[in-house]
Assembly symmetry: D2
Homo-oligomer: 366 residues x 4
């Protein structure tokens, strides 16, 4: 219970360091009978994988996932599904020089204050590499949610540094290295990233994730609201500093007459709430947004201290993304999938016998 | 496990409906030997209490808390502390007329989709009244954190609708009904709330909470990051739609050279991260911000449906706040306190024997 | 998480001391729509209640339970059900004299080693009084299991000290103060208890609990086996020192050809396993047995130490049972009910869509 | 949360099937700074390993454990420790013939009722092979408990079928294939097992486990009593049907004057309670006992049904132990170690600041 297990009923227990022999996880609680093979999980791993374009980190990892248990003759059996991804491109020598220092704004200092020790190889457990196992595990959840409920989860980059991006074309998202849904802006992003790399700097990003085909009634009224659990999941992504549901932080400046989502038998008349009301899904599309800070791994030297507490100036080298937020799209989708899967099971545990007396209304009135 | 228990080691299990006989909670896991009486818990309850000024709901509740167990001769014994708050001003007749309809943008519709039934008296479990027990429980956490570590948690209103408010004077916060730290702006707020009430409308708010005297090393690296658990806690407040740590959503537009908090033996040189790095506290002040949506309980009629799914127009009556966000200040402080208390215990469970080799640096260099 | 919550999905959080103002619990996770009132819970509380005959403790407690939340218009709503039982006959003066000493073989010494303090009034939290709330909470589970599945849980006393008792007549169990299913032996038991009281001594007991109408498929294969969770539940009863499922400890001396339960389409041919195989229910009757030690609260003086560690001789006075095991029958039934309820919900969370390809066979072939 | 994670703070998440590619686990919550390598874990794995004598199953597994994460430069880092054991001798053809039938008294039937499917290869998840990972994980706990507190856990076989065995010589336990502490009886056991194998039958066993060097104060007063959690752990071992603490089931027939453990400043005067009082450790030796049923995998044909529900007679072939209980000794030790480790951490989470006012007395007076 050192926080490496996610979920109450669909439980993902993650392990592994960036430069150890392997990373992986155990997925416990998957319903039996789901057709599943590595081929179902690999596509999202490939979307998150480093080294796929010159705009993300140049570490080369095949990120091939193996299923070690819980699947028999191509279907889940209901027993734990262990997933293993071997680390192949570890290059721990890259990190040797920073072994005695704390990289500014990295977790190094906090780890030593907590544990007294740390694994300096590639940031060890604090590396974004760990998120690969979340993406793999969530592939199971995404598949089950899609097959069982027709539910679909997808994300895009809504902002990279100064560049704000609209949702114009879902199809375009997979066709450029920025998960950008406004394809005409891609050259602008290419120029931005190239400039940042030349300047030894980095930039933040905002990611939007949507789930359509939502089932009403998922979530819990008080602490484990659907939106609260989403906030937990999404703020648990490396470098996330803000989470929004629906209109998000903007609601502080809004009026009730403006924000409220009115209802008609034909459907909801707006979706300011982002699909959650009182902590419970309404059947509207789920709308989430997160902000990812600019990576602190930049080549511009920074002021820091070393293991003895003495001042040092240091420059982070190694293979880093000028914008770590870009690859966060499949990770954010994954965390949303894990939350929805968990709440789908939680809901039916308590409420499997419920037949709502009121008909469900469509997500949005035509 | 329907989400009414908060925390892993310092566990608060909440119960009660707005218009039932009582609300309350059980606090399990409190260290023994803490001096505790109702007098320690009442002040924050009074800060949250309705009916204290004309700017908040006129429901009159004494909100007197009773300790039913876990305290002997004025000290905690280590056994569960049950807290009970009786409901006195229930006026359920206020709600009779809306029994067959779903108030627009309330949890009513979602509850019926989930449970098939709901308790319509005052919103039942979805009422903000439930948060009183969180405030009461957190009084225990606040006291222990203060006595054990010198840790202090406090909040203020940073925005009410169009009015943004600075942190100018912590002392002022308790001297006006708006938890406003910029006292010269209070008349502006009074006028705003009066106008909203006259217009039958409501407005959102932003709340900032800070914790000073933080201990480095609290939190967990992966899923249960300190910031992730804060996001869970704060998004779990009724009507919250956004949560930020440190620079929050603004990081999407920032550069690494601008955002990173450099370190020197004399202390950190900035606090953009809001006191958390890699999911673990750094010893810097914890900085959190939440946005509370404008209440949907307004007197301007809205389009909705009834229990049969037919269209109705309805006007929410009853005693409501034009800005529910105001009273969220003690609630947000409470949720931060519960998270910190829980992580203080989690940290020492695993790491009680750790002596960090590196000296701790001050929160901010002078 | 100091162990005062039982269950993963049907969660009972217990609070209260023997001589504090009240005991009670919060039941979270109950399915909505169950008809429920205090009248459903009181009968089992009355079966467990002290002072009902001269063979059990003479403490007079009405043990009237109040439902404080989670029920609206006579049905559960799916929100937490808080149950409150006020303590009325507290007589804390009985215990004043033992405040500075540790009663031999009581939890007093262990509590002080753990917490540094203890509530000496009536044993505080270690009193068997706490079990009243388990019985109350389990009343909800029993009702739901009976209505939803036709499942029935009942127990009887199988041994009191030297007297071993057979299951001869279920009807008789409720007609004598010993929960004895062999009514002809009741006078023997009366004489035994009277003699023990005269001698200032006590005696142990063995309780059997059976559940019929079991559903196959409940339980989990590895750690949270149905029998393992039953063992946890039953060993968690005050003074329990042994737990058996099916043939229990006797299996150590048995042969495979003798113990195995063979199967035929007409049903199982025996039930040595007690209804659980591989940690999962088979649909056969669940058979559990526990041993309750003789109470250490006896009037024969014993050697002990006081708060300073010095030797004292002490005699426990107060109102105690010569055989605490007798009243353990409804408690043991309660714990079995809580486990089955929890696993019913756990099972359907994961496996709600499962249609077993093989027909279910009857519990026992005719 | 399908029950494959054990522990609240020291959490072991198990995965893997008997005849899949590998079994393993993730250990989360281990304190940092513990010297650890595979060599610390292998000895207990070797004690549990099949194929080591002709008296246990002839399956040949090297059971070599690999540490995949959580250890850096020979010490734990506080992050999850993944352990992997590859399956090498799988011979799934042994099981092909029983794919369409339910072996009598095995979990096969229960699995199909629960999941609709099962992995028939070697019993899949229900195989005792899974317990290897418990032994590996517990090696970490044993080492930490020994180094941190001087605590020692060891077990022996107290009964094999009709042969009851005394604890005569702890040293002898490791010198014979039966974990027998009464070495003169070993030839008798050899003859018994040889005869059973010839007869195609099996026999049960009783295992005793003791922990010395116990720390007082571990455990929780109500549901998660130390003895209740031990019962959960021990009844969670494959084929366990009974669990006893201290005098166990015999207490039903005992008197209070006989059973109670009196105290003197020089120490406790007896240990009938087995080291636990009120659910909390007293500092006395922990005494546990379990009964393991005779394996149902015997070559004497039995009556059963097939996948369609039709009657079949079947004879279990393959490589099986005539007494599976023998190899349960290291498994039972492992489960005790996991419980104690977990409660050590739980205790200090809540009570790290407690200084008991009363001096601790020795486990037993001289």
């Amino acid at each position: 219970m050192s926080g490496n297990t996610f979920g109450r009923l669909f439980c993902v227990t993650s392990f592994g360091e960036s430069h150890g022999p392997a990373i992986g996880c155990v997925v416990d609680g998957c319903p039996p009978g789901l057709a599943l093979s590595e081929a179902d999980l690999q596509p999202d791993l490939d979307r998150r994988r480093p080294g796929t374009s010159r705009y993300v980190t140049q570490r080369k990892e095949a990120d091939l996932v193996r299923i070690l248990s819980g699947v028999y003759q191509g279907h889940t059996t209901g027993t734990p599904i262990a997933l293993l991804i071997e680390n192949t491109d570890q290059r721990s020598y890259d990190y040797d020089k920073i072994r005695q220092t704390f990289r500014p704004n990295h977790a190094d200092y906090a780890y030593v204050q907590k544990y007294g020790v740390r694994d300096p190889r590639g940031g060890g457990r604090s590396s974004a590499r760990e998120t690969a196992v979340r993406v793999a595990a969530a592939g199971i959840a995404k598949k089950w949610l899609r097959e069982r409920f027709g539910l679909r989860i997808r994300g895009y980059v809504a902002q990279i540094g100064p560049v704000e991006l609209r949702l114009e074309d879902w199809e375009a998202v997979e066709l450029n290295p920025f998960f950008c849904a406004e394809p005409a802006r891609v050259p602008e992003l290419e120029a931005l990233i190239d400039a940042l790399r030349a300047q030894g700097d980095s930039v933040g990003a905002r990611i939007n994730v949507e789930a359509s085909g939502m089932v009403p009634g998922w979530g819990e009224p008080v602490f484990d609201r659907l939106d609260a659990d989403l906030a937990h999941a999404l703020m648990g992504i490396n470098a996330a500093k803000g989470v929004e549901i629906g209109d998000g932080m903007r609601v502080a400046g809004m009026r009730g007459t403006e924000h409220r989502d009115e209802m008609r038998p034909q459907g909801f008349l707006s979706n300011h709430s982002g699909g959650v009301s009182g902590g419970i899904s309404t059947g509207q599309d789920l709308l989430c947004s997160i902000a990812i800070k600019p990576t602190s791994s930049i080549t511009t030297p920074g002021r820091s201290i070393d293991d003895t507490g003495a001042a040092v100036d240091m420059r982070t080298t190694g293979r880093h993304d000028p914008c770590v937020g870009i690859r966060a799209v499949p990770i954010a989708e994954a965390m949303v999938a894990l939350v929805l899967m968990d709440h789908a099971l939680r809901h039916r545990a308590q409420n499997a016998d419920v037949v709502p007396p009121t008909p469900r209304i469509p997500p949005l009135a035509p």
